[in-house]
């Protein structure tokens, strides 16, 4: 067990692909779908079960932007930076959220582990630009102020539930 990841479940997923190395990406996608990220222990277990070097698994995991090697927050915020959203000023929204969450350097997840901030190339909702999604729920025509309000609401909601 590490960070709530059940190794039994991980092995089940790997076994469901017959431990075949050409299913590596699919295996990692399935595990990430369940736990939102891939821990070092998970990558090592995959390498062991598939009979390849852990460096190879790490290589594939770091090649694709989609795979995350860090634990993610409860709320995953995606700021769309596709062409339409970009010209409608998505960048200031992204910067405002970064500042609000006090993210520094390559940090993507807030210190309290509640929010993870990412960008996405295009969500195909250009008519609603600029778009922000929170755990795949779409929020249209955002501004930096609206985005901060949204995060504050989420924070309150989370505190009330806890």
């Amino acid at each position: 067990m590490s960070n709530g990841i059940s190794m039994e479940r991980v092995e089940e997923i790997i076994d469901s692909y017959d431990c075949k190395v050409h299913h590596l990406i699919a295996i990692m996608q399935d595990i990430q779908a369940e736990y939102k990220y891939l821990s070092p222990a998970v990558l090592e277990r995959i390498a062991e079960k598939l009979g390849v070097g852990v460096a190879k698994v790490y290589s594939v995991a770091t090649f694709y932007e989609n795979f995350s090697l860090e634990a993610k927050g409860k709320y995953i915020i995606k700021v769309c930076d596709g062409t339409a959203c970009h010209v409608r000023k998505s960048q200031p929204i992204y910067n405002a959220i970064r500042e609000y969450l006090e993210l520094e350097g390559k940090q993507k997840t807030s210190a309290d582990g509640l929010f993870t901030l990412e960008t996405v190339a295009c969500l195909g909702a250009c008519g609603l630009a600029p778009v922000v999604t929170v755990n795949d729920q779409v929020h249209s025509k955002m501004t930096p102020e609206l985005a901060i309000d949204l995060l504050e609401d989420l924070r309150k909601e989370d505190a009330a539930n806890a």
Partner: protein, 565 residues
């Protein structure tokens, strides 16, 4: 295999089974520039230096291009030259160009090609993040700031050795070569074989340099510096001085070391003769007792490390014999203890090895007594070449001197330890009840010799058919292990050498391709043919030593267990 005629720069060139256009071009006498093409490894096409232009002006890499009949290509058009210069300039832009002080200076492929293509100015700045030097391994040093991402190390580690310790990390501009999770090499299962450093065209992966320590010991009047020289060294060291691969230069090397200030110079084949006798007797005992089989040879430290890390259940299958280097060292240190007490000097033992993993082996706790290592320092062939050059000694021109006695005498069987199949042949020579010349001659044409990755032989020892396997290239040994595990194969004795070609192809040797390794092996077999005695047990000094030793002493000095209690 495809056959036909190609036109290279207007010249008609016949091809017959060449795997790619690049090898046809090489056959035509044109040396194509390349960083990432090795005939032993898979084609990668990363460096783009071997590009050629066809009649329609299409540019393609020749390493990944199939030869076809009637194909017309040019290798040196204005566009291609411009293209290559640009690649080199971009590589240099993200390369730590501290060339004069680089370990690889003078032997660097990037330096050589930049010179060849007249790249004199780099217009772009280096904006990569600063990287960290990894000197955690006892055998190799990784300096990512000098990496050009050719992927040679990744492929040799994965395909040739079967370890896959390093691989590409990230993508695009952020791509690097690193172990998983950016660990240090010492935190991985790296077996220190050093083949990544042997193929690295730049100074990004180099052998851990211990020349300074060697000089300090040599210049210390309180130290008696005693050297042993491994078999594979003598047939490769001359290459750095313009001699052909395979030419024996042991006697020149002895003179050179003496000129440099070494006190005594001995031959590892002496240790190898002990190994042959001990390993043969262990094998015969196992035949009597019924196992455990297969018995694996223990000479290759990278192989031992591999089993320790990955397959510890096989540790009891490894021969309990120390490697020739360690047998030699423990005998030497044992003999010289008294001498040290008498004259107040300390014996400092240097082993000259074709191998980087020997640096790791010498540092193992099993080979130290009272905090003192049996082998104080391991120098690779390449390090000794550098020391000889530093001293200004012209190796081919100096007088000959044979190794000192008593530890300088070895049999022909000890000499062939340096090539794949040598250890097995030495053991077979000892075990065979038939001691005639004919029996030896027959072995010369048996599968014990040759260059096939996995060779299998059945040899009658007394009443029993002994099944032998000889493997070189660790990836092939892994395949063989799988076969054994699956029950598809059975062997009594398996010789494993991690490097292609055995020790002659070790990573401490001067950089050599397949044909050089073959020539070195031929050189060793020629030495064996010329040797006055060809069986370990005929070595009179070894015989005398063994007579003096009781069973316990013999066990303590010559055997080791890698199994943790």
């Amino acid at each position: 295999m495809a056959k036909g005629i190609m036109f290279i720069d207007g010249q008609r060139v016949a091809f017959d089974g060449e795997p790619n256009v690049l090898s046809v071009i090489q056959k035509a006498g044109i040396e194509m520039p390349t960083f990432c093409y090795y005939s032993d490894l898979s084609v990668y096409g990363a460096c783009r230096m071997c590009v050629v232009e066809d009649e329609r002006g299409k540019i393609e890499t020749s390493c990944s291009m199939q030869p076809r009949d009637g194909l017309r290509i040019r290798t040196n058009t204005a566009r291609l030259l411009k293209h290559r210069r640009m690649i080199l300039e971009l590589m240099l832009a993200s390369h730590n160009c501290s060339c004069t002080t680089c370990e690889k200076s003078g032997d660097c492929h990037l330096q050589e090609l930049a010179m060849r293509f007249g790249v004199r100015k780099v217009r772009f700045g280096d904006s990569r993040e600063e990287s960290v030097l990894d000197a955690s391994s006892p055998a190799i040093v990784r300096d990512p700031s000098k990496c050009i991402l050719c992927g040679d190390c990744v492929r040799v580690c994965g395909e040739g050795i079967g370890m896959g310790i390093i691989d590409f990390v990230n993508r695009g501009y952020n791509m690097r070569v690193a172990p998983a999770f950016d660990r240090k090499l010492s935190e991985t299962h790296c077996i220190s074989c050093g083949q990544c450093s042997a193929v690295c065209p730049t100074g990004a992966i180099t052998v851990y340099n211990e020349i300074g320590r060697a000089w300090r010991a040599i210049h210390d009047p309180k130290k008696r510096v005693v050297v042993q020289i491994a078999p594979a060294v003598r047939v490769a060291i001359g290459e750095a001085f313009g001699l052909p691969a395979g030419q024996n230069t042991l006697d020149q090397l002895v003179t050179a070391l003496k000129l440099m200030g070494v006190d005594e110079v001995y031959d590892t084949t002496f240790g190898a003769d002990f190994t042959t006798i001990e390993e043969s007797e262990e094998f015969l005992q196992r035949l009597e007792r019924g196992g455990p089989f297969p018995m694996f040879t223990s000479c290759c430290p990278a192989w031992v490390k591999y089993l320790e890390n990955e397959d510890p259940k096989y540790l009891k299958h490894i021969s309990t014999c120390k490697s020739p280097m360690q047998m030699f060292a423990s005998l030497l240190k044992d003999r010289y203890r008294k001498l040290d007490e008498e004259d107040g000097r300390t014996t400092y033992h240097i082993a000259i090895m074709p191998c980087t993993a020997k640096k790791m082996e010498a540092a193992r706790p099993q080979f130290a007594h009272d905090g003192q290592r049996d082998v104080d320092l391991v120098l690779t062939t390449q390090e000794v070449i550098n020391m000889i050059k530093e001293s200004g000694i012209q190796l081919p021109q100096i007088e000959l001197e044979s190794p000192d006695l008593p530890f300088g005498l070895g049999s022909g069987a000890g000499v062939i330890y340096g090539t794949t199949g040598g250890v097995a042949e030495a053991v077979v020579r000892h075990c065979l009840p038939d001691k005639s010349k004919n029996a030896l001659r027959e072995l010369r044409f048996s599968p014990l010799r040759g260059n096939k990755a996995i060779r299998v032989a059945v040899i009658k020892v007394g009443e029993r058919d002994v099944h032998l396997a000889i493997v070189h290239g660790l990836a092939n040994a892994q395949k063989l292990l799988k076969e054994i595990e699956a029950g598809n194969a059975y062997f009594d004795l398996v010789e494993v050498m991690t490097c292609q070609g055995g020790c002659v192809g070790g990573a401490g040797q001067p950089h050599g391709m397949k044909q050089d390794k073959k020539a070195r092996a031929e050189g060793l077999y020629a030495l064996d043919r010329a040797a006055p005695f060809k069986r370990a047990e005929r070595n009179p000094v070894v015989g005398a030593f063994l007579k003096e030793m009781d069973h316990e002493e013999r066990h303590a000095l010559l055997h080791v267990s890698y199994i943790e209690e």
